[in-house]
């Protein structure tokens, strides 16, 4: 269908495109515009000699009974969801808030050092970890309780969940880049921190027991 039309269009710059083409144009413009579009504006955008009013009416007819409709809004036209499908547009929304710095840091330590106890988190952060922070992370299902540590008092440990990996687009916690790589990617300022030459980050990974890591997520 497109071919004869295409050649016709080539033949005369002043010939209006065939109605089917005009309908396509109106469809694309209505779809992409950020506001309803007037007939005058359509005429201004479409090739000389086009009849946007006719094209609009044809398009509106084509969309009758579909999931969206071509509707008139004052002097302008727009595409809108069919009213009977309004229920689909209901979505639990989700006022998003940023995680606090304390929560991010705690989460990062768990991700990089799991399984890790609260005492170890505090040792790394250098400040105590509030109950609310851990509770929030548990509630978000980004962390969960891991195995107890075989040390005096048998403290519980924390590990990250499959939900965490999903949220952060990771395939496994081992994919987290180390400090050297963060610096290479420009995520750190260049000031070499004390002890940076030791190349932690990567080294820390070696502390993890691979078996421990592997079965971390299987019972999700």
């Amino acid at each position: 269908m497109a071919d004869p039309l295409e050649t016709e269009r080539e033949e005369s710059l002043f010939e209006a495109p065939p109605m089917g083409e005009q309908e396509r144009m109106v469809e694309a413009v209505l779809f992409a515009s950020t506001e309803p579009v007037t007939v005058t504006e359509l005429a201004g955008r479409m090739p000389h000699g086009s009849e946007p009013q006719v094209a609009l009416e044809n398009l509106a007819k084509r969309y009758e009974g579909r999931g969206v409709r071509v509707v008139r809004v004052g002097e302008a036209w727009a595409i809108r969801t069919a009213p009977d499908l309004g229920f689909l547009m209901h979505k639990e929304v989700t006022e998003t808030r940023k995680l606090s710095r304390a929560a991010i840091e705690t989460l990062a330590i768990i991700a990089y050092h799991q399984p890790v106890t609260r005492a170890e988190i505090e040792e790394i952060r250098g400040v105590s970890v509030s109950r609310g922070t851990v509770d929030l992370l548990l509630e978000l299902e980004w962390i969960r309780f891991g195995r107890r540590k075989m040390t005096p008092g048998r403290p519980v440990t924390f590990v990250v969940t499959a939900g965490f990996l999903d949220h952060f687009g990771l395939e496994s916690a081992r994919d987290l880049p180390g400090l050297k790589e963060l610096r290479a990617a420009g995520l750190l300022d260049n000031r070499p921190p004390p002890g940076a030459e030791l190349g932690f980050g990567d080294d820390d990974d070696d502390d993890l027991d691979p078996d421990d890591q592997a079965d971390m997520f299987e019972d999700e």
Binding site: K91, L187, G195
Partner: protein, 262 residues
């Protein structure tokens, strides 16, 4: 660079202009591989049939000219020049049967592969950028419909924030290695603190080992760290002019005493 790579006298004016144009452009090349690729294209043949020997000569001549014109060349270019000179010699000399290394042909084939691969990536990059692009050739919905919202608070964090948070902690000044057993380690600072308090009693030459703190002399690991720390601390005190130190012969005991006032 060998002399025969460069014959300045036989260059015509137009050749020289062409050469200088090339050299002025040196910053425009993204490294030696890019330059080699450009030179390779001037052979006007399929990259797979490019003469690596010819290419090496072109490159070496280019470097020689650049040096003649006192153009600053990045180290990369000189490393490549040295390597190509080496490659050239391997291609020209008959193969040495006792030589274990890769043959000149292997090296040349790999270079040809790298050039072809770089060219291929450039070609597909151009094809990629030539595709219809979102926001330029095709468009998204301009008037997305607001879904009615039932509110629910959700917390969000990006991977960047997570990694930056981690980096922040691990680069803090007060950073200490995680889980480190310090019970069996004496630092020089500790030894120094200890010795400063005891210097007054060291009027006579005494064996350094007698200065080790109690409880650190028997266990070998503890004795080692305590000895090292105490020795380092005594060197520091010698430097400060508070102690004297002597050893009669190699491996004999080290002795220290308080520096007499003089």
């Amino acid at each position: 660079m060998q002399d025969d790579d460069f014959q300045p006298d036989v260059l015509s004016v137009s050749e020289r202009l062409a050469a200088e144009a090339l050299i002025v452009d040196v910053d425009g090349y993204e490294g030696p591989l890019d330059l080699l690729l450009t030179l390779g294209r001037t052979q006007k043949v399929d990259l797979r049939k490019v003469s690596i020997l010819g290419l090496a000569e072109q490159y070496l001549a280019f470097i020689a000219k650049a040096r003649e014109l006192r153009i600053e060349l990045a180290a990369d270019y000189l490393v490549m020049a040295a390597w190509l000179a080496y490659l050239k010699s391997r291609l020209l000399l008959p193969p040495d049967p006792t030589d274990e290394g890769p043959s000149g042909e292997d090296l040349a084939a790999h270079l040809a592969y790298q050039l072809e691969r770089l060219q291929a990536m450039r070609d597909v990059a151009a094809r990629l950028m030539g595709r219809d692009q979102k926001g330029r050739d095709f468009f998204v919905r301009g008037l997305p419909e607001d879904v009615t919202r039932s509110r629910k608070v959700s917390y969000t964090a990006t991977l960047m924030e997570l990694m930056q948070g981690y980096a922040r902690i691990r680069t803090k000044d007060e950073f200490r290695p995680f889980v480190m057993d310090r019970d069996n380690l004496m630092t020089m600072e500790e030894a120094l603190d200890r010795m400063r308090g005891m210097i007054g009693f060291a009027g006579e030459w005494s064996d350094l080992t007698s200065w080790l703190p109690q409880g650190w002399e028997t266990d070998p690991a503890r004795r080692r760290t305590a000895t090292a720390a105490t020795f380092a601390a005594s060197l520091q005190l010698v430097k400060e002019g508070q102690l004297e130190l002597r050893q009669t012969e190699t491996f004999s005991p080290i002795q220290i005493r308080k520096k007499p006032h003089g």
